[in-house]
Subunit: 81 residues, 4 copies
């Protein structure tokens, strides 16, 4: 996860360089789409971890309702952001 | 869920009418964004149900790994579509 | 454009049938992602038309500022919906 | 634009810290959604500039078809990433 985020940080710094050097807008936009995809991959990985640990543990412990609600609220924020 | 999908069907029919009557593009696009938001609401509702039932039941029955993977794959498809 | 919207209407009706017949959530979600992709294709097609006609005509007639602003507001609504 | 990208770089570094310190997944996801929104704002700003300059200049110079196609391809990549 940390390695992926470091690569995204590198992509964002690359974007700053591109803007600074007046790179053609369309090429900057392509790089933004790549950074967005990479962020999505991190988000989906975190959600998978969250389901596999927090939601599953709550289900075994008794009442997972709050954890399920919290996870679907996070999914809603992610798809609408 | 069914009520929401019926309203989305109405929105899509409204879009056909707008295109047919040469409505101004920007107004058609606003309506498309509204239909997309409504589809997202249905998707998040289904995901919440899926977590609350399939994932939780699998957690209680023993091994939820497959259900968790399936849910996160569905989330990945949703955010990237 | 109209043909595409009719196919999306068919997809939404298919979704109602799936929900009505208690189809497995994940399969319903896959179909929702497909409908969302199809809506995106219509939106991008409309935006391309809008740029090729309204924005281009406004540029030739003199001041395209308002049309450009309107188009980018529509893009912003689309990516955030 | 550069200022916005620097703030996004800060958000990504904040995300690394959160992951490193085992921050609760849901809070990390909220921060990812915020970074995604910020990236969208940069993308829409770049598209607006692109329309206002490249597309408008091409329209005035004669044939904007290639620029319009390029812009709508970039929009398509952005909404699907």
């Amino acid at each position: 996860m940390l390695g992926r985020l470091r690569r995204i940080e590198g992509q964002i710094r690359g974007l700053q360089r591109m803007v600074d050097e007046d790179t053609y807008c369309i090429d900057v936009l392509t790089q933004i789409s790549a950074a967005k995809s990479a962020l999505h991959a991190v988000a989906v990985g975190l959600l998978e971890d969250h389901l596999a640990h927090c939601v599953v543990d709550a289900a075994r412990a008794g009442d997972p309702t709050a954890k399920v609600k919290e996870a679907s609220d996070a999914i809603a924020r992610l798809v609408r952001s």
